[in-house]
């Protein structure tokens, strides 16, 4: 306990330096600004803004990136409430009641409770991260290569269970991600793999290139198809601060949402996406009058938004302690950290305590800033959202191009991003979900490395994966997950969770 507070104090000292405070503020602000753009989710936002952190020291850069991430999350919720377009999967639920509230002239209250709920969730999950970090890091040191491999298999299996639609397609898309991860020079033999003689990809494909193509350009192509009349709220934004009754109604949903979201966010394999759905379903079940849901029930905003933010934050835990990204956003964070020369994993906490605790402390500060920045700036976001899409999307394209060019100062990267844009568009058209691909891509490299190490240690015996209790246990759970995923009765329940809001 004393350790926890000492560590947090160290973190606060780092995060509260004038420079880092400013970077956190700037990250939150720009993150929200880009995240508010309809159809631009956190993945595209982080990729686009990655180059602006290049000139900054690693601690500051990561604090800023984390700020950009929360900002983008919150910006997505703002768009969901005001325009009824979710920036990403996790804010789909918010559109249901949030947009209804906005139509009834209660947009301000909806945005207010979303911000307050997120803040509360953020505070709790920051403490959870701080408390779990040390024991998990110690545990990570017990992990051998075989255990790591098994853990990643488990993560990918979770991603399969949690992906929408066909299990077959989810597994296939992860495999395609792993296949893409093998492109480039083999680290052990130095042989070029799948490069087809192109020296430009001899170092492998940059995760930013794939992310920007599939979540930036492909998303724009899809948005252009549906020339949906964007439904920017014309009603007054109204009071921002929820009244006593609103608070009363939201208190338990926020508490339950924080708990649910935080817990699910810890799961390897994109558990965070489930939080808002689970919270919405739970609130609807517990409500005295479930028919209010979908018609502007404040609980339907407060719960899922808290769950969303709690999950977004606890998702950092597997990344920071084990070095394993649990979802696509965190996979991108691995790329971002690597650019700054930081390899995510248990060694960060012991070798760079400043960075580790500074980042955790900045999460709390970032949440406070979101509350302080966003509530007064809502008028600005509304005006921003009224810019017609025909002017907005070409600007997004230019911003994406500049962003991706600046990652390596390479025009070839820009060309490849265009290619992945088309690839991502095709994937979606063929009914595949693109997010697991990114996770498979980042985990693929790690998995191959650990697999090879494990087999070298065991002198080529696959029994090592079953002999070690940890790895055997993890693989057993993975197997159970696969079985669960294909069982029709459970699949039905899963689909209900995802469409539960309709």
């Amino acid at each position: 306990m004393v350790d926890l507070f000492n560590n947090l104090a160290l973190g606060m000292a780092v995060a509260l330096s004038l420079k880092n405070l400013f970077l956190c503020f700037l990250g939150c602000l720009i993150g929200t600004l880009i995240g508010v753009l309809p159809g631009v989710g956190p993945i595209a936002t982080i990729t686009m803004l990655l180059p602006i952190t290049f000139g900054i020291d690693p601690v500051g850069a990561l604090i800023m990136l984390a700020g950009i991430y929360y900002g983008a999350q919150y910006g997505g919720s703002t768009t969901a409430i005001l325009v009824n377009i979710p920036g990403e999967a996790t804010s789909v639920v918010t559109t249901l009641d949030g947009h209804q509230m906005a139509k009834q002239g209660r947009a301000g209250v909806a945005l207010g409770i979303a911000a307050i709920g997120s803040f509360i969730a953020g505070c709790v999950s920051t403490l959870v991260i701080a408390a779990l970090a040390a024991p998990l890091t110690r545990m990570a040191l017990l992990f051998g290569p075989a255990d790591y491999f098994a853990l990643m298999v488990l993560g990918l299996m979770f991603a399969v269970v949690l992906a929408r639609g066909s299990v077959l397609k989810a597994i296939a898309v992860i495999l395609v991600g792993i296949l893409l991860s093998t492109v480039g020079t083999d680290l052990e033999s130095g042989e070029e793999r799948l490069t087809f003689g192109w020296s430009e990809i001899a170092d492998g494909i940059d995760v930013a290139v794939i992310a920007m193509g599939m979540f930036g350009f492909a998303e724009i192509m899809r948005n252009l198809e549906t020339t949906q009349a964007r439904d920017v709220v014309h009603a007054a934004i109204g009071n921002l601060l929820p009244n006593r009754k609103d608070f009363g109604q939201s208190f338990w949903p926020i508490t339950r949402g924080t708990f649910l979201g935080g817990l699910l966010g810890l799961l390897p394999g994109n558990g965070a996406v489930l939080g808002p759905f689970a919270s919405y379903t739970l609130e609807k079940k517990l409500a005295d009058d479930p028919s209010r849901f979908g018609r502007g029930a404040i609980e339907g905003v407060a719960g899922p938004e808290s769950a969303n933010n709690a999950g977004a934050q606890t998702a950092f835990i597997p990344l920071l302690t084990l070095g394993i990204p649990p979802n696509a956003v965190m996979a991108l964070m691995v790329g971002a950290m690597t650019i700054h020369g930081i390899i995510p994993g248990p060694q960060i906490m012991t070798k760079q305590p400043n960075l580790f605790w500074g980042m955790i402390a900045s999460m709390w500060i970032g949440n406070l800033m979101l509350l302080v920045i966003n509530l007064p700036l809502i008028g600005l976001w509304v005006r921003f959202l009224k810019v017609p899409y025909r002017l907005m999307f070409p600007s997004i394209v230019v911003l994406c191009c500049i962003g991706i060019y600046s990652v390596n100062n390479s025009p070839f990267d820009v060309v490849m991003t265009a290619g992945f844009g088309l690839f991502g568009y095709a994937l979606v058209k063929f009914g595949f979900e693109p997010a697991p691909l990114l996770l498979g891509f980042v985990l693929g490299r790690l998995m191959e490395e650990k697999l090879r190490q494990a087999l070298v240690i065991s002198r080529g015996s696959f029994l090592t994966f079953v002999d070690r209790p940890l790895s055997a246990g993890l693989l057993a759970v993975s197997l159970v997950l696969v079985v669960i995923a294909v069982l029709p009765s459970i699949r039905k329940g899963r689909d209900e969770v995802f469409v539960g809001g309709d």
């Binding site: 395609v176 792993i178 350009f217 999307f393 070409p394 844009g421």
Partner: protein, 183 residues
């Protein structure tokens, strides 16, 4: 994009789920490219896995999933293929390629507006004058933000396209800077 056909009467065709069928073929295609790229690489032994093992095994798995999807599509009825838009994706792709080819030689001052305008053509609602003005404003704003504020090494105007306008542009920048810094 020949797949642009809407799904036809499904009763006459052996393919009961065109979406799964096309998805399966797509996977097989990816697998073939992947396997070809790793064709000459060795499998190695279990104690020392070769560089070719993982790509080949994964490519085979992808192909297997593709085949299963195709077979499924012959048995179970499912969704039809979605319509593929042509104009939007093509214009967006071309605009990105234009940017890639112009950025080094002509700089952001040309690549930016070109990219913006080509992309804008993806949308039927685009109004020319409005788009041109926005393209110039967006480019100057990006140049200011990325080049001057963030010091990214992005080529702005390597060949002097701005010409006589260069002076006024610098003046504008100084004005904005001093305004932003509150001097």
């Amino acid at each position: 994009m020949t797949e642009a056909r809407p799904d036809r009467g499904q009763s006459s065709s052996p393919i009961k789920s065109p979406l799964e069928f096309a998805g399966g073929l797509f996977l097989v295609g990816i697998a073939v490219v992947g396997y070809a790229g790793a064709f000459t690489l060795p499998f190695g032994q279990l104690s020392g896995i070769g560089s070719g093992l993982l790509p080949k095994v994964v490519a085979l798995l992808v192909a297997a999933f593709g085949v299963v999807l195709v077979l499924q599509s012959l048995v179970w009825a499912g969704q039809g293929l979605e319509r593929w838009a042509v104009r939007g994706p093509v214009m967006v792709l071309v605009s990105v390629l234009v940017f890639a080819f112009a950025i080094r030689s002509l700089g952001l001052v040309v690549a930016g507006p070109l990219c913006f305008l080509v992309a804008a053509m993806a949308d039927r609602d685009t109004r020319p004058v409005e788009a041109i003005v926005s393209a110039i404003v967006a480019t100057l704003a990006c140049g200011f933000l990325f080049k001057d504020l963030l010091n990214l090494p992005i080529p702005f105007d390597p060949v002097g396209v701005l010409g006589p306008l260069h002076g006024p542009y610098e003046g504008l920048k100084t004005a904005v800077k001093s305004l932003a810094l509150g001097h």
